[in-house]
Every structure is written in C-alpha cells, then in structure tokens.
Amino acid sequence: MSKSEDTESRTHDSSHDTKLMHIVAHTPRGKGILDCIQCGRCTSSCPMARQTSRYNPRRLMEMITIGLKEEVLSNTPWYCLSCFTCVDKCPQGADVGEVIFAIRNIAAREGHIPPGIKAQGGNIIDTGKISNPTKSILKQRQEMGLPEIEPSDTEELLKILRKTGFDKIIGHK
C-alpha cells in the first residue's frame, strides 16, 4: 500500500456544503442517506474497502451528511464495485450501494466521469452497445454458425438520449 493511500482523507481544506445531503436524499436512488446510523457494517463487509483505504462507504455516507462535496464527488464513488453487498448487509436499509449511484449521477453532471465510463457512454450513442465484436469474432461467429449481430437503431437511441440530456452529460458531439 502506498503512502498516499494511508493518509487520512482531506477533510480539513474542503468547504462544507450543507445542502448536499438533501440533494442526495431527493434523488430516486439516494433516499437511504437519511437512514444511515454510521454503524460501519457496510465498510466491514465491503470487498473494495479491503483492497484500498481510499474507499470507505461508511465514510462516504458520513461525508455526504457533513457536506464534504468535493471529496464526495471526486473519484471516491467510482471505487464502488456495485456488488451491493452493503445493500444486503445494511441493518438500517440505508442502501449504501444505491446512494453511490445517486452521487455518481450528481458527479457526472458536474463533469467528474472516469474515462472508461465516459467511453461506455460514447459507445452506446455510437453503436447502441457498450461492447462490440471485432472482425475476427464476427468470422468466428460465422464459423460456429451463430446468428449475425444486428446493428442497433442508433437513430432511435440518439432521440432518447438527447431527450434525457445524456449526450450533454458525457460531452458527446
């Protein structure tokens, strides 16, 4: 583990946004924030928290309630595996893993998106899929007698995603 990973999260030099918790609580996946009692069951069960001290879901919930917006919306929530172990284990139904999606959505609107995720969004707009076959795979499909992969109706998808503002969120031209 590197030195930087061991250091405490940078709480002191950040401004507190007292509205953050309310904003999160009013998103469809963020309601759980109001139920958290900081017992630590989520972090104690979290497979990612065991890999790196940079990720601590209980602390993330605490940071939301305190209003440490900068930390909350930086790269921290992207460590989550979306394995939902915390949701399964939480004794209060605070649905931590769901709250993570709420804050990722807020982060995305503020422009904090990891490149890999942004690429997935771009792929969807361009091809309707996040993963597309290579030429050799297409050949192999033929060889195996598997049906052809139909292209998605990207025009339709673009209509949907323009309507929701998805293209703007990922900065797609």
Binding site: S44, R58, R59, P91
Partner: protein
C-alpha cells in the same frame, strides 16, 4: 361471592414470580401458570446480574421457594392457558395441566429416574450445550422439585418399551397413565409475564451461527460462564473444549435491524459488559473485545460499570458492526472483518470464540394469549399498554396487566421487571378496589 380477590399470573420468570409474591402478600389468591416444568425463567439461566454482579440464582431461588410455600399461591407448572372469557372482576380461564407422568405428591426429587433413563436429548436449560434425559428436572433449583417425563422422547411413549424409571422409583411416583387435565379458574384479574425469546441468528448468514461451532449466542455463554453450567464456569470452546485466547462480543445481532427487529433490545450492551468482565475474572489471560454501534450503558451504575470494565478489566471496545465472520477450517478460529469507525481502519481480527448478542424478541405465545384474552399486541408482537405513559402496565382489556419483557424492550432488565411486577399488582388492586366502591 368469593372470599378474597384472585389473580391469574401467566409466566413464571422473575416478573411473574414477583407479581405473584406481591399479589399474594396483599391477600390475593394467586394462580401462577408456567408452561415449562419449573418456574424460574430466564433469570434462572443467568450466571450473574448486572451491574452489581450478584449471583442470579441466589437472588431468584428464595423467591421461587417462597412462591411454592406461600399459602396464597397455587403453582400450575407444565400448564398452559387454553381459553379465557369474562371481564374484570370475573374472568373464567381454562388451564391445561399437561401430563407430567410423575405424581407431584409422591416424587421426592431423588433423581434416580433421571440417572438411569437411557434417552439423551439436548438440555433446553443449558441452551443445548449439555444433554438431559427424557425424564428430567430442568435444573437443580427447580420448583417444584420433581421430575417430568417428556413424552416426545420417552421410549415408553414412543416405542412402548423401557419403563426403567417406573421400576426404580421407590416412591412409586411414576404414572404412565396420567392424562392432561383441564382446570377452570375464576379470577378477578390477569397479569401477563411471558418474557422474551432469543432471536435465532442463523438468519444473519454472514456470522455463521449454526455453521461455525465457535459462534455462540449470549444466552449460551451465560451457561458456559456459570459455575453450575456444563463447563463448571470455564470458558471452553464448543469445537474442541479448549480455552480460547480471545473472545469477541458482537452487539445488535438482529436488533436495531430493520429486516429483523428495528428496536434496541435494551439489555445487550449491559450484559455484554458483565459477561466480558466475568470472562476476565474467570480467565484473566483471555482477551475480550466488544463490538458495539453505540454503547448504551444507561441507568443506575451502568456507565460507571462500563468505565470500570475498560480501566480495571481491560475490556477492548471497538465501535463497529462487523461485516462477516469466517472460520479457519483447521483451527476453527474465527476471523472477523470490521471497520473501526473511530479510526477508519479496516482489518481482520482472529479470535477463538464469538458471542452474538442477539435481539430479545416476543414470545410466539403472546399471539395466542392476545386472541384468547382480547388484549392487543403492538406491531412487534409484545403486549400493548393501554397508554404507554399514563398506564404503562395496563393492557388494552380492563383487569389485564403486564410486566417484564413481554411489554417490549422498555428497560428490560431484572430490576425494572421487578418494578413493573409491583406496579402491575398495585394497578390491579387499585382498579378492583375502585369497582367495589362503585
């Protein structure tokens, strides 16, 4: 017209015992109904009581004996309420006295029958950590002091063979032909004191109870730590009978948990402190840890006791709700993964024994009693008070009262159960006296 007022008390634990004694001393004719073969309840199973560390059975046993002796108390053990009708001043209650197959007036409690009975079954009083026989006395201080044949396991009742106890009993107390008997009682009032059950932590699979032998419940630990228990008070692991190097207590197992029991059971923090201290007293070499969410040591003398447990006994307190327990298949040691929420560190702790402080939950019998008597249950399954603040021991039918943990996790400890018993008797006297005046 009856000469004196009478009351039916349901449940022979500390709350029911105290209510019976208080009512009997006031001149009430008391019928104390208990479904198991002996009165005593949970308190009889405990080693010490918190925070004074008094010997539990030493306080309880004299009260049990007094119940037996008191001329105003009729003990109906191994009995259950079957039916109830009427109202305050005139309840008619049918009680089924189950067949014990041992005559109360003949058995002297010598124990020869138990000694020679060939059938072994898990001992409920010892939380399954030891065996009992099919003919048995639940525990040495049992009241009444006589044995009972458990039909479900007795070779005679199951296969028509054996009858060893009958051959050996010099008192001639064994009666295989005894039939259950229904008794109809006329009483002025009813006091319910059905106590609590222990939440089965198997539901929380991540803790491995039932799968890992060295994960036990706090009630099981009470028997392990008790000098008259299956290990004579030595802390020995169920897996190998060896002393663990360290013991962990985990709080809020099934309580303060929206999926199981949303409430705080109100006693676990306190008994965990007590048990951790007892372990250190019995085995100063064993390290003890208490994992807690909030250490709720409220009440007279408790915070002081918690402080002493840290300072004098070196108990380690960790603010965390652990995520999972894993067993080393070879050593059968247990590794607990947890975040210390005060230092934000995530780490494993490997220990020899884990004690789960499980929720105290309503007895399933409450439902039947509520249907028979007409008293309401609250959303959790405990008896609902007619008014939580004004009349906290009155139930929702006039003339029916409650005391002890069956009212829910108020302050579910022994002193408060005793207080509530007194309060229930006082309220009953008051209301019945009011009826006479009217």
């Amino acid at each position: 017209m009856k000469d004196s007022k009478s009351v039916l008390v349901v449940g022979g634990g500390i709350a029911g015992i105290q209510a019976s004694l208080d009512a009997a001393d006031r001149g009430f004719k008391v019928y104390l109904v208990e479904k198991t073969p002996s009165i005593g309840g949970r308190m009889a199973q405990l080693d010490k009581t918190f925070p004074t560390m008094d010997c539990s059975i030493c306080i309880l046993a004299p009260k049990m004996a007094e119940c037996y002796r008191h001329s105003n108390i009729t003990l109906l053990t191994y009995s259950e309420v079957q039916d109830a009708k009427g109202s305050i001043g005139n309840f008619e209650v049918a009680v089924l006295k189950k067949a014990r197959h041992v005559k109360e007036d003949k058995c002297v409690g010598c124990g020869i029958c138990t000694e020679k009975c060939p059938v072994k079954v898990p001992n409920e009083f010892e939380m399954g950590l030891a065996d009992r026989k099919a003919i048995y006395m639940p525990f040495p201080q049992a009241v009444p002091r006589l044995t009972t044949i458990d039909e479900e396991n007795c070779l005679f009742f199951q296969k028509g063979t054996c009858r060893v106890c009958e051959k050996l009993c010099e008192a001639g107390a064994i009666d295989f032909d005894e039939k259950p008997e229904e008794i109809v009682l006329n009483v002025d009032a009813i006091i319910l004191a059905t106590g609590f059950d222990v939440f089965n932590p198997k539901a929380i699979t991540a803790y491995g109870y039932g799968k890992y032998k060295n994960v036990i419940t706090a009630m099981e630990l009470e028997r392990l730590i008790c000098a008259s228990g299956p290990t004579d008070g030595y802390i020995l692991r169920p897996s190998d009978g060896k002393e663990p190097e360290s013991v962990v207590f985990i709080q809020c197992v099934g309580s303060r948990d929206q999926r199981y029991n949303p409430y705080c059971s109100s006693i676990c923090c306190k008994y965990a402190i007590k048990d951790a201290v007892l372990i250190r007293e019995h085995h100063p070499e064993i390290d003890t840890y208490v994992f807690y969410i909030d250490l709720r040591a409220f009440g007279k003398g408790f915070q002081e006791f918690a402080n002493r447990s840290k300072e004098e006994y070196g108990i380690n307190y960790i603010r965390s709700n652990p995520g999972e327990i894993r067993e080393d298949p070879i050593t059968q040691d247990l590794t607990i993964w947890y975040e210390d929420t005060l230092t934000r560190t995530i780490k494993p702790l490997t220990v020899g024994l884990v004690v789960l402080c499980t929720a105290s939950i309503p007895r399933p019998d409450n439902k039947k009693l509520s249907e028979l008597i007409g008293v309401e249950l609250d959303d959790l399954g405990f008896f609902r008070a007619s008014h939580d603040i004004d009349h906290p021991v009155d139930l929702t039918v006039p003339g029916v009262y409650g005391c002890g943990f069956c009212l829910g996790p108020r302050v579910g400890d022994i002193p408060h159960s005793v207080m509530q018993a007194g309060a229930a008797v006082a309220r009953m006297s008051e209301e019945l006296a009011g009826m006479e005046e009217a």
